[in-house]
Symmetry: C3
Subunit: 215 residues, 3 copies
Amino acid sequence: MTNTFFSRFLPKEPKFFPLLKEGADILQKVSGLIIECVKSTDHESVVKYYKLIKEQERKADQVSNEIFDALNTTFITPFDREDINHLANRMDDVIDGITSCAKRIALYKPKSIPVQAVGLAENLKESSGCISKAVDELDVLKKNAKKITEYCNELHDLENKADDIYEHFLMDLFENEKDGVELIKAKEIMYELEKATDTAEHVGKIIKTIIVKYA
Amino acid sequence: MTNTFFSRFLPKEPKFFPLLKEGADILQKVSGLIIECVKSTDHESVVKYYKLIKEQERKADQVSNEIFDALNTTFITPFDREDINHLANRMDDVIDGITSCAKRIALYKPKSIPVQAVGLAENLKESSGCISKAVDELDVLKKNAKKITEYCNELHDLENKADDIYEHFLMDLFENEKDGVELIKAKEIMYELEKATDTAEHVGKIIKTIIVKYA
Amino acid sequence: MTNTFFSRFLPKEPKFFPLLKEGADILQKVSGLIIECVKSTDHESVVKYYKLIKEQERKADQVSNEIFDALNTTFITPFDREDINHLANRMDDVIDGITSCAKRIALYKPKSIPVQAVGLAENLKESSGCISKAVDELDVLKKNAKKITEYCNELHDLENKADDIYEHFLMDLFENEKDGVELIKAKEIMYELEKATDTAEHVGKIIKTIIVKYA
Protein backbone atom coordinates (compact mmCIF):
# COMPACT_ATOMS: atom_id res chain seq x y z
CA MET A 1 0.00 0.00 0.00
CA THR A 2 2.09 2.97 -1.19
CA ASN A 3 1.09 6.50 -0.27
CA THR A 4 -0.37 8.36 -3.17
CA PHE A 5 -0.02 12.09 -3.52
CA PHE A 6 -3.62 12.40 -2.41
CA SER A 7 -3.25 10.31 0.74
CA ARG A 8 -0.88 12.91 2.12
CA PHE A 9 -3.77 15.19 2.81
CA LEU A 10 -5.61 12.56 4.76
CA PRO A 11 -5.19 12.43 8.54
CA LYS A 12 -2.02 10.55 9.42
CA GLU A 13 -1.79 7.70 11.86
CA PRO A 14 0.33 8.98 14.74
CA LYS A 15 1.03 5.76 16.62
CA PHE A 16 4.28 4.96 14.82
CA PHE A 17 6.07 7.98 16.17
CA PRO A 18 5.71 7.03 19.85
CA LEU A 19 6.88 3.49 19.01
CA LEU A 20 9.90 4.74 17.06
CA LYS A 21 10.71 7.11 19.93
CA GLU A 22 10.46 4.21 22.37
CA GLY A 23 13.00 2.34 20.21
CA ALA A 24 15.30 5.37 20.18
CA ASP A 25 14.98 5.71 23.97
CA ILE A 26 16.07 2.09 24.48
CA LEU A 27 19.02 2.70 22.16
CA GLN A 28 20.05 5.67 24.32
CA LYS A 29 19.81 3.60 27.48
CA VAL A 30 21.79 0.73 26.01
CA SER A 31 24.57 3.01 24.78
CA GLY A 32 24.81 4.49 28.27
CA LEU A 33 25.09 0.99 29.74
CA ILE A 34 27.84 -0.14 27.34
CA ILE A 35 30.03 2.79 28.50
CA GLU A 36 29.75 1.50 32.07
CA CYS A 37 30.26 -2.08 30.86
CA VAL A 38 33.58 -1.36 29.10
CA LYS A 39 34.78 0.67 32.12
CA SER A 40 34.33 -2.44 34.30
CA THR A 41 37.42 -3.61 36.12
CA ASP A 42 36.11 -7.03 37.13
CA HIS A 43 34.14 -9.86 35.54
CA GLU A 44 31.14 -9.49 37.90
CA SER A 45 30.61 -5.93 36.77
CA VAL A 46 30.78 -6.98 33.09
CA VAL A 47 28.17 -9.69 33.67
CA LYS A 48 25.92 -7.27 35.56
CA TYR A 49 25.93 -4.75 32.71
CA TYR A 50 25.54 -7.47 30.09
CA LYS A 51 22.35 -8.62 31.83
CA LEU A 52 21.00 -5.06 32.00
CA ILE A 53 21.75 -4.56 28.31
CA LYS A 54 20.19 -7.92 27.38
CA GLU A 55 17.01 -6.91 29.21
CA GLN A 56 16.77 -3.74 27.14
CA GLU A 57 17.47 -5.67 23.95
CA ARG A 58 14.45 -7.87 24.63
CA LYS A 59 12.29 -4.78 25.12
CA ALA A 60 13.58 -3.41 21.81
CA ASP A 61 12.60 -6.66 20.09
CA GLN A 62 9.08 -6.25 21.44
CA VAL A 63 8.90 -2.67 20.16
CA SER A 64 10.03 -3.88 16.71
CA ASN A 65 7.29 -6.49 16.72
CA GLU A 66 4.69 -3.93 17.78
CA ILE A 67 5.76 -1.66 14.92
CA PHE A 68 5.48 -4.57 12.49
CA ASP A 69 2.00 -5.45 13.77
CA ALA A 70 0.91 -1.81 13.65
CA LEU A 71 2.13 -1.56 10.06
CA ASN A 72 -0.05 -4.49 9.12
CA THR A 73 -3.22 -3.23 10.75
CA THR A 74 -3.08 0.48 9.85
CA PHE A 75 -4.45 1.62 6.56
CA ILE A 76 -2.74 4.97 6.24
CA THR A 77 0.81 5.36 7.51
CA PRO A 78 2.75 8.63 7.57
CA PHE A 79 5.46 7.25 5.22
CA ASP A 80 5.70 4.14 3.12
CA ARG A 81 5.26 1.20 5.45
CA GLU A 82 8.50 -0.33 4.29
CA ASP A 83 10.53 2.74 5.29
CA ILE A 84 9.20 2.67 8.84
CA ASN A 85 9.91 -1.06 9.01
CA HIS A 86 13.42 -0.53 7.67
CA LEU A 87 14.14 2.26 10.14
CA ALA A 88 12.84 0.23 13.11
CA ASN A 89 14.90 -2.81 12.05
CA ARG A 90 18.10 -0.85 11.73
CA MET A 91 17.74 0.86 15.11
CA ASP A 92 17.25 -2.64 16.47
CA ASP A 93 20.47 -3.75 14.74
CA VAL A 94 22.47 -1.07 16.61
CA ILE A 95 21.08 -2.39 19.89
CA ASP A 96 21.90 -5.97 18.83
CA GLY A 97 25.49 -4.93 18.04
CA ILE A 98 25.94 -3.33 21.46
CA THR A 99 24.45 -6.40 23.15
CA SER A 100 26.77 -8.64 21.19
CA CYS A 101 29.80 -6.59 22.31
CA ALA A 102 28.81 -6.92 25.98
CA LYS A 103 28.20 -10.65 25.50
CA ARG A 104 31.65 -11.12 23.98
CA ILE A 105 33.35 -9.37 26.91
CA ALA A 106 31.38 -11.58 29.33
CA LEU A 107 32.20 -14.79 27.44
CA TYR A 108 35.77 -14.21 26.26
CA LYS A 109 36.97 -12.84 29.62
CA PRO A 110 39.83 -10.77 28.14
CA LYS A 111 42.74 -10.03 30.52
CA SER A 112 41.79 -6.36 30.15
CA ILE A 113 39.26 -4.37 28.13
CA PRO A 114 40.99 -2.13 25.54
CA VAL A 115 41.06 1.49 26.77
CA GLN A 116 39.79 2.70 23.39
CA ALA A 117 36.52 0.83 24.00
CA VAL A 118 35.43 3.75 26.19
CA GLY A 119 36.01 6.15 23.28
CA LEU A 120 33.98 3.98 20.93
CA ALA A 121 31.17 3.55 23.47
CA GLU A 122 31.01 7.32 24.05
CA ASN A 123 30.95 7.82 20.30
CA LEU A 124 27.97 5.43 20.14
CA LYS A 125 26.22 7.38 22.89
CA GLU A 126 26.58 10.55 20.80
CA SER A 127 25.27 8.71 17.74
CA SER A 128 22.29 7.47 19.72
CA GLY A 129 21.60 11.06 20.74
CA CYS A 130 21.56 12.14 17.08
CA ILE A 131 19.25 9.29 16.13
CA SER A 132 16.95 10.17 19.00
CA LYS A 133 16.78 13.82 18.00
CA ALA A 134 16.17 12.92 14.34
CA VAL A 135 13.39 10.47 15.26
CA ASP A 136 11.83 13.13 17.51
CA GLU A 137 11.44 15.45 14.52
CA LEU A 138 10.15 12.86 12.04
CA ASP A 139 6.53 13.82 12.64
CA VAL A 140 7.30 17.34 11.43
CA LEU A 141 9.58 16.16 8.65
CA LYS A 142 8.65 18.78 6.09
CA LYS A 143 9.21 21.66 8.50
CA ASN A 144 12.44 20.34 9.96
CA ALA A 145 14.09 18.55 7.03
CA LYS A 146 17.19 20.72 7.26
CA LYS A 147 17.70 20.07 10.97
CA ILE A 148 17.15 16.31 10.55
CA THR A 149 19.67 16.29 7.67
CA GLU A 150 22.18 17.90 10.02
CA TYR A 151 21.71 15.13 12.59
CA CYS A 152 22.26 12.56 9.84
CA ASN A 153 25.43 14.31 8.68
CA GLU A 154 26.62 14.33 12.28
CA LEU A 155 26.12 10.53 12.32
CA HIS A 156 28.39 10.35 9.27
CA ASP A 157 31.08 12.43 11.00
CA LEU A 158 30.80 10.39 14.18
CA GLU A 159 31.26 7.20 12.20
CA ASN A 160 34.43 8.61 10.65
CA LYS A 161 35.74 9.38 14.13
CA ALA A 162 34.80 5.87 15.29
CA ASP A 163 36.70 4.43 12.33
CA ASP A 164 39.72 6.41 13.37
CA ILE A 165 39.54 5.23 16.97
CA TYR A 166 39.23 1.63 15.77
CA GLU A 167 42.15 1.85 13.35
CA HIS A 168 44.41 3.43 15.96
CA PHE A 169 43.32 0.80 18.46
CA LEU A 170 44.39 -1.91 16.01
CA MET A 171 47.71 -0.19 15.30
CA ASP A 172 48.36 0.01 19.01
CA LEU A 173 47.29 -3.62 19.51
CA PHE A 174 49.59 -4.88 16.76
CA GLU A 175 52.51 -3.06 18.34
CA ASN A 176 51.95 -3.98 21.94
CA GLU A 177 49.94 -7.18 22.36
CA LYS A 178 52.26 -10.14 22.11
CA ASP A 179 49.69 -12.79 23.11
CA GLY A 180 47.95 -13.90 19.89
CA VAL A 181 44.78 -15.13 21.60
CA GLU A 182 44.38 -11.95 23.67
CA LEU A 183 44.95 -9.92 20.50
CA ILE A 184 42.12 -11.68 18.67
CA LYS A 185 39.78 -11.40 21.69
CA ALA A 186 40.33 -7.63 21.87
CA LYS A 187 39.85 -7.27 18.11
CA GLU A 188 36.59 -9.26 18.13
CA ILE A 189 35.18 -7.21 21.01
CA MET A 190 36.10 -3.87 19.45
CA TYR A 191 34.90 -4.95 16.02
CA GLU A 192 31.32 -5.28 17.32
CA LEU A 193 31.42 -1.74 18.72
CA GLU A 194 32.85 -0.33 15.51
CA LYS A 195 30.22 -2.16 13.46
CA ALA A 196 27.51 -0.72 15.73
CA THR A 197 28.68 2.81 14.81
CA ASP A 198 28.49 1.79 11.12
CA THR A 199 24.93 0.65 11.66
CA ALA A 200 24.10 3.89 13.47
CA GLU A 201 25.34 5.79 10.43
CA HIS A 202 23.15 3.56 8.28
CA VAL A 203 20.13 4.61 10.38
CA GLY A 204 21.03 8.15 9.31
CA LYS A 205 21.10 7.06 5.66
CA ILE A 206 17.61 5.55 5.96
CA ILE A 207 16.31 8.78 7.49
CA LYS A 208 17.94 10.70 4.64
CA THR A 209 16.14 8.41 2.18
CA ILE A 210 12.87 9.24 3.92
CA ILE A 211 13.70 12.95 3.56
CA VAL A 212 14.47 12.47 -0.12
CA LYS A 213 11.07 10.84 -0.59
CA TYR A 214 8.78 12.92 1.58
CA ALA A 215 10.26 16.25 2.67
CA MET B 1 6.55 -0.36 -13.14
CA THR B 2 4.99 -0.25 -9.67
CA ASN B 3 1.77 -2.07 -8.94
CA THR B 4 -1.15 0.27 -8.63
CA PHE B 5 -4.12 -0.57 -6.49
CA PHE B 6 -6.01 -1.38 -9.65
CA SER B 7 -3.41 -3.77 -11.02
CA ARG B 8 -4.04 -6.05 -8.08
CA PHE B 9 -7.26 -7.16 -9.59
CA LEU B 10 -5.64 -8.03 -12.88
CA PRO B 11 -4.52 -11.61 -13.45
CA LYS B 12 -1.11 -12.14 -11.89
CA GLU B 13 1.89 -13.65 -13.60
CA PRO B 14 2.53 -16.97 -11.82
CA LYS B 15 5.97 -17.86 -13.21
CA PHE B 16 7.95 -16.19 -10.42
CA PHE B 17 6.65 -18.54 -7.77
CA PRO B 18 8.03 -21.73 -9.36
CA LEU B 19 11.39 -19.99 -9.85
CA LEU B 20 11.51 -18.76 -6.26
CA LYS B 21 10.58 -22.25 -5.08
CA GLU B 22 13.36 -23.69 -7.21
CA GLY B 23 15.78 -21.31 -5.47
CA ALA B 24 14.45 -22.37 -2.05
CA ASP B 25 14.80 -26.05 -3.01
CA ILE B 26 18.46 -25.56 -3.92
CA LEU B 27 19.00 -23.79 -0.61
CA GLN B 28 17.52 -26.80 1.21
CA LYS B 29 19.78 -29.19 -0.69
CA VAL B 30 22.88 -27.10 -0.04
CA SER B 31 22.17 -26.84 3.68
CA GLY B 32 21.80 -30.62 3.83
CA LEU B 33 25.15 -31.02 2.08
CA ILE B 34 26.99 -28.64 4.40
CA ILE B 35 25.95 -30.76 7.39
CA GLU B 36 27.64 -33.77 5.75
CA CYS B 37 30.60 -31.60 4.77
CA VAL B 38 31.37 -30.42 8.32
CA LYS B 39 30.94 -33.99 9.63
CA SER B 40 33.75 -35.12 7.29
CA THR B 41 36.70 -36.78 8.95
CA ASP B 42 39.08 -36.61 5.99
CA HIS B 43 40.06 -34.10 3.32
CA GLU B 44 38.71 -36.20 0.40
CA SER B 45 35.23 -36.13 1.90
CA VAL B 46 35.41 -32.34 2.37
CA VAL B 47 36.44 -31.87 -1.26
CA LYS B 48 33.66 -34.19 -2.46
CA TYR B 49 30.99 -32.22 -0.61
CA TYR B 50 32.48 -28.89 -1.65
CA LYS B 51 32.16 -29.94 -5.30
CA LEU B 52 28.54 -31.05 -4.80
CA ILE B 53 27.74 -27.73 -3.10
CA LYS B 54 29.52 -25.73 -5.81
CA GLU B 55 27.42 -27.51 -8.45
CA GLN B 56 24.23 -26.44 -6.69
CA GLU B 57 25.52 -22.90 -6.28
CA ARG B 58 25.93 -22.64 -10.06
CA LYS B 59 22.34 -23.83 -10.54
CA ALA B 60 21.17 -21.19 -8.06
CA ASP B 61 23.02 -18.53 -10.05
CA GLN B 62 21.12 -19.63 -13.15
CA VAL B 63 17.80 -19.45 -11.31
CA SER B 64 18.66 -15.90 -10.17
CA ASN B 65 19.41 -14.91 -13.73
CA GLU B 66 16.17 -16.46 -14.97
CA ILE B 67 14.24 -14.49 -12.35
CA PHE B 68 15.99 -11.29 -13.42
CA ASP B 69 15.18 -11.96 -17.08
CA ALA B 70 11.58 -12.83 -16.26
CA LEU B 71 11.24 -9.59 -14.28
CA ASN B 72 12.35 -7.65 -17.33
CA THR B 73 9.98 -9.29 -19.77
CA THR B 74 6.80 -9.53 -17.68
CA PHE B 75 4.45 -6.62 -17.58
CA ILE B 76 2.48 -7.45 -14.45
CA THR B 77 4.28 -9.07 -11.55
CA PRO B 78 2.62 -10.24 -8.35
CA PHE B 79 4.65 -7.85 -6.19
CA ASP B 80 6.93 -4.94 -7.00
CA ARG B 81 9.61 -6.28 -9.28
CA GLU B 82 12.33 -4.98 -7.00
CA ASP B 83 11.03 -7.01 -4.04
CA ILE B 84 11.16 -10.27 -6.00
CA ASN B 85 14.63 -9.39 -7.22
CA HIS B 86 15.73 -8.56 -3.67
CA LEU B 87 14.32 -11.81 -2.29
CA ALA B 88 15.95 -13.93 -5.01
CA ASN B 89 19.31 -12.18 -4.48
CA ARG B 90 19.28 -12.74 -0.75
CA MET B 91 18.39 -16.43 -0.99
CA ASP B 92 21.32 -16.65 -3.37
CA ASP B 93 23.54 -14.95 -0.78
CA VAL B 94 22.76 -17.68 1.78
CA ILE B 95 23.82 -20.30 -0.77
CA ASP B 96 26.99 -18.31 -1.52
CA GLY B 97 27.82 -18.17 2.19
CA ILE B 98 27.45 -21.93 2.57
CA THR B 99 29.57 -22.52 -0.53
CA SER B 100 32.21 -20.18 0.82
CA CYS B 101 32.32 -22.10 4.11
CA ALA B 102 32.86 -25.43 2.30
CA LYS B 103 35.53 -23.82 0.11
CA ARG B 104 37.38 -22.52 3.15
CA ILE B 105 37.44 -25.97 4.78
CA ALA B 106 38.75 -27.45 1.52
CA LEU B 107 41.44 -24.78 1.11
CA TYR B 108 42.57 -24.13 4.68
CA LYS B 109 42.76 -27.82 5.63
CA PRO B 110 42.22 -27.26 9.37
CA LYS B 111 43.60 -29.99 11.65
CA SER B 112 40.01 -30.64 12.69
CA ILE B 113 36.61 -29.09 11.93
CA PRO B 114 35.10 -27.43 15.04
CA VAL B 115 32.39 -29.66 16.54
CA GLN B 116 30.02 -26.69 16.80
CA ALA B 117 30.01 -26.46 13.00
CA VAL B 118 27.48 -29.32 12.98
CA GLY B 119 25.18 -27.30 15.25
CA LEU B 120 25.42 -24.24 13.01
CA ALA B 121 24.87 -26.30 9.85
CA GLU B 122 21.79 -27.95 11.37
CA ASN B 123 20.54 -24.53 12.39
CA LEU B 124 20.95 -23.43 8.77
CA LYS B 125 19.00 -26.46 7.59
CA GLU B 126 16.13 -25.44 9.86
CA SER B 127 16.33 -21.86 8.56
CA SER B 128 16.22 -23.14 4.99
CA GLY B 129 13.11 -25.11 5.88
CA CYS B 130 11.43 -21.95 7.18
CA ILE B 131 12.39 -20.01 4.06
CA SER B 132 11.07 -22.81 1.90
CA LYS B 133 7.75 -22.91 3.71
CA ALA B 134 7.40 -19.11 3.58
CA VAL B 135 8.20 -19.03 -0.15
CA ASP B 136 5.65 -21.81 -0.72
CA GLU B 137 2.91 -19.62 0.71
CA LEU B 138 3.86 -16.39 -1.07
CA ASP B 139 1.31 -16.93 -3.80
CA VAL B 140 -1.47 -16.89 -1.21
CA LEU B 141 0.11 -14.07 0.78
CA LYS B 142 -3.08 -12.34 1.78
CA LYS B 143 -4.65 -15.52 3.10
CA ASN B 144 -1.59 -16.80 4.91
CA ALA B 145 0.12 -13.62 6.11
CA LYS B 146 -0.01 -14.75 9.72
CA LYS B 147 1.58 -18.13 9.02
CA ILE B 148 4.31 -16.58 6.87
CA THR B 149 5.02 -14.05 9.63
CA GLU B 150 5.51 -16.96 12.02
CA TYR B 151 8.09 -18.55 9.73
CA CYS B 152 9.93 -15.22 9.59
CA ASN B 153 9.86 -14.90 13.37
CA GLU B 154 11.23 -18.43 13.59
CA LEU B 155 14.13 -17.31 11.35
CA HIS B 156 14.81 -14.55 13.86
CA ASP B 157 14.84 -17.03 16.77
CA LEU B 158 17.06 -19.44 14.85
CA GLU B 159 19.52 -16.65 14.17
CA ASN B 160 19.66 -15.85 17.88
CA LYS B 161 20.45 -19.49 18.58
CA ALA B 162 23.11 -19.51 15.86
CA ASP B 163 24.66 -16.42 17.43
CA ASP B 164 24.80 -18.25 20.71
CA ILE B 165 26.46 -21.31 19.20
CA TYR B 166 29.02 -19.09 17.50
CA GLU B 167 29.84 -17.08 20.62
CA HIS B 168 30.26 -20.23 22.72
CA PHE B 169 32.39 -21.75 19.98
CA LEU B 170 34.68 -18.71 20.15
CA MET B 171 34.83 -18.81 23.95
CA ASP B 172 35.80 -22.45 23.77
CA LEU B 173 38.33 -21.78 21.03
CA PHE B 174 40.00 -18.97 22.99
CA GLU B 175 40.32 -21.25 25.99
CA ASN B 176 41.56 -24.39 24.28
CA GLU B 177 43.25 -23.67 20.95
CA LYS B 178 46.87 -22.76 21.57
CA ASP B 179 47.94 -22.71 17.91
CA GLY B 180 47.28 -19.17 16.61
CA VAL B 181 47.03 -20.18 12.95
CA GLU B 182 44.60 -23.05 13.67
CA LEU B 183 42.55 -20.66 15.81
CA ILE B 184 42.17 -18.17 12.96
CA LYS B 185 41.34 -20.93 10.44
CA ALA B 186 38.55 -22.26 12.67
CA LYS B 187 37.21 -18.75 13.26
CA GLU B 188 37.17 -17.91 9.54
CA ILE B 189 35.35 -21.14 8.68
CA MET B 190 32.73 -20.72 11.40
CA TYR B 191 32.30 -17.03 10.62
CA GLU B 192 30.98 -17.88 7.14
CA LEU B 193 28.39 -20.25 8.60
CA GLU B 194 27.30 -17.73 11.20
CA LYS B 195 27.02 -15.02 8.54
CA ALA B 196 24.88 -17.38 6.41
CA THR B 197 22.38 -17.64 9.30
CA ASP B 198 22.35 -13.81 9.48
CA THR B 199 21.56 -13.69 5.78
CA ALA B 200 18.82 -16.30 6.21
CA GLU B 201 17.26 -14.06 8.86
CA HIS B 202 17.53 -11.17 6.40
CA VAL B 203 15.53 -13.22 3.87
CA GLY B 204 12.83 -13.32 6.55
CA LYS B 205 13.01 -9.53 6.90
CA ILE B 206 12.51 -9.09 3.15
CA ILE B 207 9.49 -11.39 3.25
CA LYS B 208 8.13 -9.37 6.17
CA THR B 209 8.59 -6.21 4.11
CA ILE B 210 6.56 -7.83 1.34
CA ILE B 211 3.85 -8.65 3.88
CA VAL B 212 3.88 -5.06 5.13
CA LYS B 213 3.36 -3.86 1.57
CA TYR B 214 0.90 -6.34 0.14
CA ALA B 215 -0.87 -8.47 2.73
CA MET C 1 7.80 11.88 -4.50
CA THR C 2 7.54 8.71 -6.59
CA ASN C 3 7.48 8.86 -10.36
CA THR C 4 4.07 8.14 -11.76
CA PHE C 5 3.63 6.57 -15.15
CA PHE C 6 2.70 9.97 -16.47
CA SER C 7 5.76 11.76 -15.15
CA ARG C 8 7.92 9.64 -17.39
CA PHE C 9 6.83 11.67 -20.36
CA LEU C 10 7.75 14.92 -18.72
CA PRO C 11 11.19 16.40 -19.36
CA LYS C 12 13.74 14.74 -17.12
CA GLU C 13 16.21 16.55 -14.94
CA PRO C 14 19.66 15.78 -16.36
CA LYS C 15 21.90 17.07 -13.57
CA PHE C 16 22.11 13.75 -11.73
CA PHE C 17 23.93 12.02 -14.53
CA PRO C 18 26.96 14.35 -14.52
CA LEU C 19 27.15 14.04 -10.73
CA LEU C 20 26.96 10.23 -10.82
CA LYS C 21 29.61 10.21 -13.55
CA GLU C 22 31.80 12.44 -11.39
CA GLY C 23 31.45 9.88 -8.60
CA ALA C 24 32.34 7.05 -10.98
CA ASP C 25 35.37 9.02 -12.23
CA ILE C 26 36.68 9.43 -8.68
CA LEU C 27 36.19 5.70 -8.11
CA GLN C 28 38.29 4.99 -11.20
CA LYS C 29 41.05 7.32 -10.00
CA VAL C 30 41.06 5.82 -6.51
CA SER C 31 41.25 2.26 -7.82
CA GLY C 32 44.23 3.26 -9.97
CA LEU C 33 45.93 4.77 -6.91
CA ILE C 34 45.40 1.69 -4.73
CA ILE C 35 47.26 -0.44 -7.29
CA GLU C 36 50.26 1.87 -6.92
CA CYS C 37 49.82 1.92 -3.15
CA VAL C 38 49.97 -1.86 -2.73
CA LYS C 39 52.99 -2.02 -5.07
CA SER C 40 54.88 0.30 -2.71
CA THR C 41 58.14 -1.04 -1.35
CA ASP C 42 58.60 1.53 1.41
CA HIS C 43 56.46 3.24 4.03
CA GLU C 44 56.89 6.74 2.53
CA SER C 45 55.35 5.59 -0.72
CA VAL C 46 52.39 4.01 1.13
CA VAL C 47 51.77 7.25 3.03
CA LYS C 48 52.01 9.29 -0.17
CA TYR C 49 49.38 7.18 -1.93
CA TYR C 50 47.17 7.07 1.16
CA LYS C 51 47.11 10.88 1.20
CA LEU C 52 46.26 11.03 -2.52
CA ILE C 53 43.45 8.51 -2.00
CA LYS C 54 42.14 10.35 1.07
CA GLU C 55 41.97 13.56 -0.97
CA GLN C 56 39.80 11.84 -3.58
CA GLU C 57 37.63 10.31 -0.88
CA ARG C 58 36.83 13.78 0.43
CA LYS C 59 35.86 14.89 -3.08
CA ALA C 60 33.58 11.85 -3.37
CA ASP C 61 31.90 12.81 -0.09
CA GLN C 62 31.20 16.25 -1.54
CA VAL C 63 29.71 14.73 -4.69
CA SER C 64 27.45 12.51 -2.54
CA ASN C 65 26.26 15.56 -0.62
CA GLU C 66 25.61 17.47 -3.85
CA ILE C 67 23.53 14.55 -5.13
CA PHE C 68 21.55 14.48 -1.89
CA ASP C 69 20.93 18.24 -2.07
CA ALA C 70 19.95 18.02 -5.74
CA LEU C 71 17.50 15.22 -4.92
CA ASN C 72 15.82 17.45 -2.38
CA THR C 73 15.46 20.49 -4.63
CA THR C 74 14.46 18.83 -7.91
CA PHE C 75 10.85 18.09 -8.56
CA ILE C 76 11.17 15.51 -11.31
CA THR C 77 14.05 13.06 -11.21
CA PRO C 78 14.84 10.49 -13.90
CA PHE C 79 14.36 7.54 -11.50
CA ASP C 80 12.95 7.28 -8.03
CA ARG C 81 14.97 9.61 -5.85
CA GLU C 82 15.78 6.84 -3.43
CA ASP C 83 17.41 4.72 -6.16
CA ILE C 84 19.76 7.53 -7.16
CA ASN C 85 20.57 8.13 -3.52
CA HIS C 86 21.21 4.42 -2.97
CA LEU C 87 23.46 4.17 -6.03
CA ALA C 88 25.49 7.25 -5.04
CA ASN C 89 25.90 5.95 -1.47
CA ARG C 90 27.12 2.55 -2.59
CA MET C 91 29.68 3.95 -5.05
CA ASP C 92 30.88 6.04 -2.14
CA ASP C 93 31.16 2.89 -0.01
CA VAL C 94 33.56 1.33 -2.55
CA ILE C 95 35.75 4.43 -2.32
CA ASP C 96 35.57 4.30 1.49
CA GLY C 97 36.68 0.64 1.44
CA ILE C 98 39.69 1.42 -0.76
CA THR C 99 40.61 4.37 1.47
CA SER C 100 40.33 2.17 4.53
CA CYS C 101 42.67 -0.41 2.97
CA ALA C 102 45.31 2.25 2.25
CA LYS C 103 44.91 3.64 5.77
CA ARG C 104 45.44 0.21 7.29
CA ILE C 105 48.66 -0.34 5.35
CA ALA C 106 49.90 3.09 6.48
CA LEU C 107 48.98 2.47 10.13
CA TYR C 108 49.79 -1.22 10.60
CA LYS C 109 53.13 -1.04 8.79
CA PRO C 110 53.18 -4.72 7.76
CA LYS C 111 56.64 -6.20 7.13
CA SER C 112 55.53 -6.70 3.53
CA ILE C 113 52.35 -6.15 1.56
CA PRO C 114 50.84 -9.47 0.36
CA VAL C 115 51.62 -10.01 -3.34
CA GLN C 116 47.97 -10.94 -4.01
CA ALA C 117 46.98 -7.37 -3.06
CA VAL C 118 48.02 -6.30 -6.55
CA GLY C 119 45.63 -8.86 -8.08
CA LEU C 120 42.75 -7.66 -5.91
CA ALA C 121 43.51 -4.00 -6.65
CA GLU C 122 43.60 -4.69 -10.39
CA ASN C 123 40.34 -6.59 -10.05
CA LEU C 124 38.86 -3.49 -8.37
CA LYS C 125 40.14 -1.30 -11.20
CA GLU C 126 38.27 -3.52 -13.67
CA SER C 127 35.14 -3.36 -11.51
CA SER C 128 35.39 0.42 -11.42
CA GLY C 129 35.61 0.42 -15.20
CA CYS C 130 32.38 -1.61 -15.42
CA ILE C 131 30.61 0.70 -12.98
CA SER C 132 31.80 3.71 -14.95
CA LYS C 133 30.53 2.29 -18.24
CA ALA C 134 27.18 1.32 -16.69
CA VAL C 135 26.73 4.78 -15.15
CA ASP C 136 27.61 6.36 -18.51
CA GLU C 137 24.67 4.58 -20.13
CA LEU C 138 22.12 5.24 -17.38
CA ASP C 139 20.67 8.24 -19.19
CA VAL C 140 19.73 5.99 -22.11
CA LEU C 141 18.63 3.12 -19.87
CA LYS C 142 15.75 1.92 -21.98
CA LYS C 143 17.85 1.74 -25.13
CA ASN C 144 20.88 0.13 -23.53
CA ALA C 145 19.40 -2.09 -20.83
CA LYS C 146 21.03 -5.19 -22.29
CA LYS C 147 24.49 -3.65 -22.40
CA ILE C 148 24.17 -2.29 -18.85
CA THR C 149 23.03 -5.73 -17.65
CA GLU C 150 26.19 -7.19 -19.17
CA TYR C 151 28.38 -4.75 -17.21
CA CYS C 152 26.53 -5.75 -14.03
CA ASN C 153 27.02 -9.45 -14.77
CA GLU C 154 30.71 -8.71 -15.35
CA LEU C 155 30.81 -7.17 -11.85
CA HIS C 156 29.40 -10.45 -10.52
CA ASP C 157 32.09 -12.48 -12.32
CA LEU C 158 34.83 -10.12 -11.15
CA GLU C 159 33.65 -10.52 -7.58
CA ASN C 160 33.85 -14.30 -7.90
CA LYS C 161 37.43 -13.94 -9.14
CA ALA C 162 38.23 -11.58 -6.26
CA ASP C 163 36.82 -14.13 -3.83
CA ASP C 164 39.09 -16.72 -5.31
CA ILE C 165 42.17 -14.51 -5.03
CA TYR C 166 41.28 -13.76 -1.41
CA GLU C 167 40.71 -17.41 -0.44
CA HIS C 168 43.97 -18.49 -2.04
CA PHE C 169 45.76 -15.63 -0.36
CA LEU C 170 44.47 -16.88 3.00
CA MET C 171 45.42 -20.48 2.22
CA ASP C 172 48.91 -19.31 1.35
CA LEU C 173 49.09 -17.12 4.45
CA PHE C 174 48.03 -19.94 6.77
CA GLU C 175 50.73 -22.16 5.29
CA ASN C 176 53.61 -19.70 5.25
CA GLU C 177 53.18 -16.90 7.76
CA LYS C 178 54.43 -18.07 11.12
CA ASP C 179 54.18 -14.68 12.88
CA GLY C 180 50.61 -14.44 14.28
CA VAL C 181 50.54 -10.64 14.41
CA GLU C 182 51.82 -10.26 10.82
CA LEU C 183 49.24 -12.84 9.73
CA ILE C 184 46.38 -10.83 11.22
CA LYS C 185 47.70 -7.55 9.78
CA ALA C 186 47.83 -9.04 6.28
CA LYS C 187 44.36 -10.52 6.67
CA GLU C 188 42.86 -7.24 7.86
CA ILE C 189 44.40 -5.31 4.98
CA MET C 190 43.28 -7.79 2.33
CA TYR C 191 39.82 -8.10 3.89
CA GLU C 192 39.11 -4.43 3.16
CA LEU C 193 40.05 -4.90 -0.51
CA GLU C 194 37.93 -8.02 -0.82
CA LYS C 195 34.99 -6.27 0.82
CA ALA C 196 35.39 -3.38 -1.63
CA THR C 197 34.92 -5.82 -4.53
CA ASP C 198 31.77 -7.13 -2.78
CA THR C 199 30.47 -3.57 -2.56
CA ALA C 200 31.31 -2.98 -6.23
CA GLU C 201 29.19 -6.03 -7.08
CA HIS C 202 26.43 -4.56 -4.95
CA VAL C 203 26.56 -1.38 -7.05
CA GLY C 204 25.81 -3.68 -9.99
CA LYS C 205 22.83 -5.14 -8.13
CA ILE C 206 21.41 -1.67 -7.49
CA ILE C 207 21.78 -0.82 -11.18
CA LYS C 208 20.02 -4.08 -12.03
CA THR C 209 17.20 -3.09 -9.67
CA ILE C 210 16.91 0.20 -11.54
CA ILE C 211 16.73 -1.74 -14.81
CA VAL C 212 14.01 -4.01 -13.37
CA LYS C 213 12.01 -0.92 -12.43
CA TYR C 214 12.49 1.39 -15.39
CA ALA C 215 13.91 -0.29 -18.49
